[in-house]
């Protein structure tokens, strides 16, 4: 910050940041560029034979958006799945988190045992997603304890095939995502509310505002920046959805690929076929979507805040 006369410490700045940048360039930036580069080549393994790499221009992208025999376009379908799974989990996640954050910070309610509740609701966030998903798989399998409870209480005559129906698989995945993230979001939003000047709440109180008015006129507008941050990170997290559906459906996105996400699609091409061309094309699409989505959300949500 302050410069010393005669002695320049500038070179130390470079020395200190060099390891970070060397590693970033080698393991992230270069792979990022070669990923994009790959998208324009035909390059895969068919049995023991290696095909390519041959330059094919935009062929991989065209293939990505060409309807298959059944007339559905894989990329669009899996993007749709990802969005559905994300929305089903993220809407309750943000809504519940907002509610809890208001509860926890309300001095009128004065909630007891806050530390306990926070500890419990934050815990699923740290649990290994693969193991959590495996746990849900065993609990909801046809011979699992949930079905045992349903059968023994007589709610159904035969086991419910939770993992074979589109609705239940999607709901299970969303439920897991909700459970894993709402505690985290609650804590972020709480910090946001605590960061608001307390005088504003006191002033609203003196003016006779009720809880709802305080929430919509004071808390929500001032919370907008943190809310933007939360929604953007949740969205980018949602695009990366992989571990939970992958393990729950054993990588198949059952039934009929209705829970198959974009990253599962990407992972599929990286498996035995090592189809780097198609995987590269999917990566480019993923990159464009995540970049533009975060821009759109940021712009729409930050507008009312600025006014």
């Amino acid at each position: 910050m302050r410069k010393h006369k005669g002695v320049s410490y500038a070179k130390w700045g470079y020395i200190f940041i060099i390891p970070f940048f060397v590693v970033y360039i080698l393991f992230t930036l270069v792979p990022q560029l070669t990923t994009f580069y790959n998208a324009f080549f035909e390059n895969y393994r068919s049995g023991l034979k290696q095909i390519g790499p041959n330059y094919v221009g935009f062929d991989n992208f065209i293939k990505l958006f060409t309807p298959d025999k059944s007339g559905s376009i894989g990329m669009i379908k899996y993007f749709g799945n990802t969005v559905i799974l994300w929305v089903l989990g993220a809407v309750p996640q943000v809504a519940v988190a907002l509610l809890l954050a208001v509860f926890f910070t309300s001095y009128r309610l004065n909630i007891k045992g806050q530390q306990f509740f926070k500890t419990v609701i934050y815990m699923p966030n740290l649990i290994m997603a693969a193991a959590f998903s495996m746990l849900f798989f065993t609990l909801f399998s046809p011979i699992g304890p949930i079905n045992q409870i349903i059968l023994s209480s007589g709610w159904a005559d035969k086991a419910v095939d939770f993992l074979g129906m589109r609705v239940s698989v999607r709901l299970l995945i969303s439920l897991m995502n909700f459970l894993m993230w709402f505690g985290n979001t609650t804590i972020l939003l709480m910090a946001g509310i605590q960061g608001i000047d307390q005088c504003l709440f006191e002033a609203a109180d003196i003016d006779g505002a009720n809880s709802l008015q305080v929430f919509f006129r004071v808390t929500l507008p001032l919370l907008a920046p943190i809310l933007v941050y939360t929604v953007i990170t949740a969205m980018i997290g949602g695009l990366q959805m992989f571990d939970v559906p992958q393990v729950l459906t054993n990588g198949k996105g059952t039934p009929d690929r209705t829970s198959f996400t974009m990253v599962m699609y990407l992972n599929n091409y990286l498996g035995t076929s090592k189809n780097y061309g198609m995987a590269g094309a999917i990566s480019v699409v993923l990159f464009i979507i995540s970049a533009s989505l975060s821009l759109v959300v940021y712009k729409t949500l930050s507008r009312p805040y600025k006014n």
Partner: protein
């Protein structure tokens, strides 16, 4: 008189409403807590029951086969869980140390020194923070094959040196705690720049480093996507790969008590750390994002 009784009535009404509101709020909180704990409770109960008991039906009470299941899972021939836990621990510990040390170093470099590319370095890291890691997976895997680094822990450990999010956290921490006078005093006393960082700055940053170490450890312990693409040798596999393997095996042939025990073992280390350090972890989850 009338004024007073009216005030009293309103007061009672207000109190009743407050009571009702509290009741609803506590109900919601307890419901959500139960929802969070329910699946883990079932896992714990079922890990203490024999396969026969598990087939017979669900009971919410603990049984007596916990240690039997533990020894069966621990000594399983196809899924070597102790080895997997050791592998995961090794990788996660290395990641935790590297990511915190180098993020602190980078943040200190950008925070304290004046140099031409300072602004560029900061905004570059901020810009790439949002890019999902999966987007560069293709090139990353290719690089690993080209450098003969598959079935090797280097590509799982070394990249943690460059962690934009941790850098951001450290930078914020430095902004809030580090007075420049300390750096200058150290210089006057003849301390070299590296020595100043290692012996004076790092101890000041201890709370931030501790919290980020926990998060880095947990993230690495739980990481599934990249390791599953790089590791296929049985004795190099990490815990999440083994859990996924458990899923792809024909589970109906499995001793289910053992399956629950595998899941328990996979998440146990993180749970133990969390139970001991939950306060610090929850505080750490907030601190990074307040200004974000």
């Amino acid at each position: 008189m009338t004024m007073k009784s009216k005030g009293n009535r309103e007061n009672t009404k207000g109190r009743l409403m407050m009571f009702g509101a509290r009741f609803v709020v506590y109900f919601i909180l307890i419901f959500l807590s139960v929802l969070c704990l329910f699946s883990f409770y079932m896992m714990l109960v079922n890990s203490s029951r024999s396969n026969f008991e598990l087939q017979a039906g669900f009971t919410p009470w603990f049984s007596t086969h916990f240690f039997e299941n533990l020894s069966n899972a621990w000594n399983d021939a196809s899924i070597n869980i102790p080895r997997g836990m050791l592998n995961s621990f090794l990788i996660a510990a290395c990641c935790a140390i590297l990511t915190t040390y180098f993020s602190a170093l980078t943040a200190y470099g950008v925070h304290v020194y004046d140099f031409k590319l300072k602004k560029f370095a900061f905004y570059f890291i901020m810009a790439v923070m949002m890019i999902p890691p999966q987007v560069s997976a293709v090139g990353f895997i290719q690089l690993c094959y080209d450098l003969k680094l598959t079935n090797n822990y280097i590509p799982l450990i070394v990249p943690s040196i460059a962690a934009p999010v941790v850098f951001f956290y450290m930078k914020q921490y430095l902004e809030s705690v580090l007075p420049m006078e300390i750096v200058e005093a150290a210089r006057i006393d003849g301390s070299g720049e590296f020595r100043t960082f290692n012996q004076i700055i790092l101890p000041i940053m201890k709370p931030a480093i501790a919290v980020q170490m926990i998060f880095a450890f947990v993230a690495s312990w739980n990481n599934y996507f990249i390791p599953s693409l790089i590791l296929d040798k049985a004795d190099l596999k990490t815990v999440p790969i083994m859990v996924a393997q458990l899923r792809s095996a024909d589970y109906s042939k499995f001793d289910m008590g053992k399956v629950y025990m595998f899941i328990l073992l996979a998440i146990l280390p993180v749970i133990v750390v969390y139970v001991i350090l939950s306060r610090a972890i929850i505080r750490g989850a907030t601190a990074g994002a307040v200004k974000g």
